[in-house]
């Protein structure tokens, strides 16, 4: 068949049945394709060599070399027709309208024309959407044999400076053949994918990469590879893990991802970014534990992730770094994934650092402040969080943001000296909730009650105190009418009642709290026991404490044992109390020896019993029993832990006074 192309350029194609699609090929008048190419080719080659040299040798280029050892040069360096084969320019898509056929001499080609023809035909069928037809054509080609034939010709050493032209043309030709074969295999994989034969598709796709690895044993470098071949390689690298995922072979997918990111494929920045993101997403959410990368790829002194979360967080942070260095386009979902990952592992302080590093203009400043406030508050740095919230709630910023108001009120409610400020936030939150989100009104009232309660503690006058206390109770009552199942609210109301000496109401709340939480919260048990003891019902209080001890694991029993010891003292059972202190002491000492940072129980952390307290309690107990020697020993132990404290000095003074008294008589 002879196809008439553009301005009279005519080709004799040695096979039948090939349809040249989009044959309305026009050439821009006056452009000499060959010359144009030739000059461009020389120029580009020089550039690339120098870049390759830089990236290979010293890394004095100033810019940071991120992620891919294979990654050199900028994305736009490819997509041009260097190598003289591919003219259509990725950067100027408008030129797609006119096509060019570039003819080269056929000498030295590694493939038969029949194979080449079939490969092209398969591609045509594929692009026409006839996937089955394409597959039939591809099946008829012995692609593996073709690759075998390609290997020796391509596995030559990189061209030396002398006689460069000859080896180059050799290269270009063989590369053309290689890209033709590899494209055929790649399209075969795509066809299989479209037909739902995913495992086969993945195998085919993998064979593209295996072939490339065999051909380019040193990895792909810019100088060696033509654009077309590079494009196919990049596609295959990116497609392979997708195929394994779709086929449900998760571990193969993981190794395909790692192979993509750790081998030298010379990927474009965008492509590499996509692969990194997809891999991070897979690691975060698939639930498939990847296991650490093999030792072969590990490099000395560099960080190697040991589990999914570490690897995902590392990749996401690298991506963010790329965004900051403008090496990739901003993708908001990366930040969302990182937010999720870091909050899952309680590292919101690290997240805060990442949020701070985001370039200005990406997020609105108020959004940034609010996210930062959440991060700091999540990490327990409430002061920093409150400072940010003050900025974002300023009247010129976003004074009505409900989340910010509630968070600010909550932070203030934990500090007596901030409580007055918190009252303001809570009141604003309530007004806002009434207008926009009714269901949060109860939360606002809850915070208001807490802030009033805290404020009552630092009042200068009795009348003010009782006013704040009744305000607190009123707000909490209002809140409980809206959220009668909220256990935290019930607890706080109970505490407020107890402080108000309304012990019956407090008792009711404490019981309800235990019911609502199924006894799963230690502080609920303690509140109940304390209220009962405040009512002088010591034996009942002890029963509650015992029940609580039953529901608590040994390690967490400290606060309850201390409570029980004090109950025994109140019941004038000092010997029993000493017994309790002895248990407590054993527990505290065992904890000191075996508590790492990993044995955390937030329920106990707030109210940890320390050893000093136990010794001091024991000293008091012994001195009340006039066991002066024992008291002295206990005080000595306490002093070893804390040398100067008011408590020990007080007890010591009491002891010596009593001793003197005894000696006098």
């Amino acid at each position: 068949m002879s196809a008439r192309l553009g301005s009279g350029l005519s080709l004799g194609l040695g096979w039948e049945g090939l349809i040249v699609w989009g044959v309305a090929l026009h050439r821009r008048p006056g452009t000499l394709v060959g010359q144009h190419l030739a000059s461009g080719w020389e120029a580009r080659r020089g550039l690339n060599i120098s870049e390759g040299g830089l990236s290979l040798g010293s890394r004095a280029s100033g810019g940071e070399r991120l992620v891919m050892r294979a990654h050199r040069g900028k994305g736009e360096d490819r997509g041009h027709g260097w190598g003289g084969i591919w003219l259509v320019d990725g950067g100027t898509r408008r030129r797609r309208g006119w096509g060019v056929v570039h003819h080269r001499h056929r000498e030295g080609r590694g493939l038969s024309s029949g194979l080449e023809a079939r490969a092209l035909l398969g591609k045509l069928e594929y692009q026409r959407g006839n996937v089955e037809g394409a597959l039939r054509v591809f099946d008829g080609i012995d692609l593996q044999a073709a690759i075998q034939r390609l290997q020796p010709s391509l596995a030559e050493k990189p061209p030396s400076k002398k006689g460069r032209n000859r080896t180059e043309s050799q290269h270009a030709v063989s590369q053309h053949a290689a890209s033709l074969v590899l494209e055929a295999i790649y399209l075969k994989a795509k066809s299989l994918q479209k037909l739902g034969r995913l495992t086969e598709a993945a195998q085919e796709c993998k064979s593209v990469l295996d072939a490339v690895e065999k051909i380019f044993q040193q990895g792909i470098l810019d100088v060696e590879v033509d654009n077309k071949l590079q494009e196919i390689v990049s596609h295959a690298v990116e497609l392979l893990p997708e195929l394994w995922k779709q086929a449900g072979c998760h571990h193969e997918a993981i190794s395909a991802y790692r192979r993509a990111l750790l081998s030298l494929w010379n990927l474009e920045n965008d492509c590499c970014t996509r692969i990194q993101k997809e891999f991070a997403v897979f690691l975060l959410y698939s639930g498939v534990e990847a296991g650490p990368p093999s030792l072969g790829v590990q490099i000395d002194s560099s960080y190697v992730p040991r589990n999914n979360l570490e690897e995902a967080i590392l990749l996401l942070m690298i991506l963010l770094r790329k965004f900051h260095l403008c090496k990739a386009n901003w993708d908001p979902s990366v930040m969302e994934h990182l937010t999720f990952a870091l909050s899952i592992c309680n590292q919101t302080s690290v997240l805060a650092k990442q949020v701070e590093e985001i370039m200005p203009g990406v997020y609105h400043r108020v959004d940034r402040w609010n996210s930062l406030a959440l991060c700091y508050s999540g990490a327990g740095q409430n002061k920093a969080a409150l400072n940010l919230l003050r900025k974002s709630l300023h009247k010129h910023e976003r004074p009505d943001d409900l989340m910010a108001l509630l968070l600010a009120a909550k932070i203030c409610s934990e500090d007596s000296y901030l409580a007055a400020e918190g009252v303001g936030y809570a009141q604003r939150a309530i007004t806002n909730a009434e207008q926009h989100a009714d269901h949060l009104k109860g939360v606002g009232l809850h915070m208001l009650g807490l802030c009033f309660g805290k404020q009552a503690k630092v009042c200068s006058s009795d009348s003010e105190r009782s006013r704040f206390q009744s305000e607190a109770l009123k707000s909490l009552d209002g809140a409980i009418a809206l959220e009668h199942k909220n256990s935290d609210l019930i607890f706080d109301l109970g505490v407020r009642y107890a402080e108000h000496r309304n012990l019956n109401a407090a008792l009711r709340c404490a019981k309800q709290f235990i019911d609502e939480t199924g006894g799963s919260v230690i502080k609920g048990w303690r509140l109940l026991a304390l209220i009962l003891s405040a009512q002088q019902r010591f034996s009942e209080s002890e029963i509650v404490t015992d029940a609580a001890l039953d529901e608590t694991a040994k390690w967490d029993q400290g606060p309850l044992l201390r409570l029980k010891a004090k109950l025994k003292i109140s019941q004038s059972l000092p010997m029993d109390a000493i017994e309790m202190y002895r248990y407590l002491l054993a527990l505290v000492q065992a904890q000191r020896k075996s508590f790492g940072p990993f044995r955390v129980n937030p329920q106990v952390d707030d109210n940890k019993v320390n050893e000093f307290e136990v010794w001091h309690g024991l000293a008091n107990l012994y001195s009340s029993l006039s066991h002066w020697k024992d008291a002295e020993i206990c005080l000595g132990k306490a002093r070893q832990l804390k040398q100067y404290t008011a408590e020990t000095l007080h007890t010591e003074g009491k002891n010596s006074k009593s001793l003197d008294y005894f000696i006098e008589f």
Binding site: E64, D142, H176, S301, L314, P332, F340, S343, K485
Partner: protein, 353 residues
Amino acid sequence: MSDHTTAELTVSDATATATSANPSQSDSFSKVRKAIQSLSTILPSIPPSLSSSSNPSFSLLHDPEISTHISALLRRSSAGAGDDNLCRWLYEAFQSGDPGLHLVVLRYIPLLAGAYLSRATLRRPLAGFEAVLLALYAHETTSRAGQPVTVNVPDVFLPSLYHEPTSPAKSNSTTLNLAVVSPTLEPHGTVRATRRARIVGVALELYFGKINEMPKSSKIDFCEFCTVWAGDRDGHHNLRSDPSQVGDTDGGDEVELGTHIPLPWELLQPILRILGHCVMGRWANDKEVFDAAKEACRSLHVRAMHDINAKAILATESLIRLGNNMCFEMELPNGNGCVDPHEIPTTNVITLN
């Protein structure tokens, strides 16, 4: 295709189809048969296909009839007592140590944990449920030797497997941030109330580890329970007719269940990880699971706001935003984002040498 490829294909196909096949295949086979036999005494009927199946544990995991029966039993208000035969079966199936049966037990963890947590506050004995949960907890404790799961949050200014920064680390703060994802596990012989959340949390961690092998209905069950646990006010009225409502199938002691159970972090964290999978599990491409998970995230976000729990607000908010993006992607015609990045560009250029 060359012989080489064909050989590769057949080998990999064989390994793919026989994932459950291990050296002690006949042993596992007999364990599963035995389990099916004892299950037939508990369920009203067992599909005959099950006993003739070549991969019985796989069929047991995915058979819709079986799951309907077991789910109905677990949803009974009397379920979970010490003499509950189904719980005994689940316990024994897990203790058999067969990986296939492990999956079957894990498949029902959402329902079991859901029913358990919703009812734990009612102070009714739930020894059956607890036995299963403790078996899972003990399994994890032994396989981890009680060790915590930690994460070293990397510093991007230091070189890693995937990158080499050229600018040296400026700060001296090169210490890694050590994060505890799952704390030390202590052995527990009984479920003490204060450790309940942790024990259920560990069961959910195990579930997450196998989540990609779980059938769709199991994930949907889980998402629905999350909505219930969050005690969502807006969706509250729907819950009465909701299939996840426990305790109303038996009539009798119908209780309003599942409103606002305590959600401490040790429970919330594995819940969020599972929901993350359900929202982002694009490879499963399952709209039903996705919708249920999005709803659960929304409820948990409301709950996090009510509790003013900063970490939970951050995590749920990002899941919701990611879910919204996914929605957008799913609505597009090819279901996989706008352009397939793996497609070779169609051009009208022929290149010949």
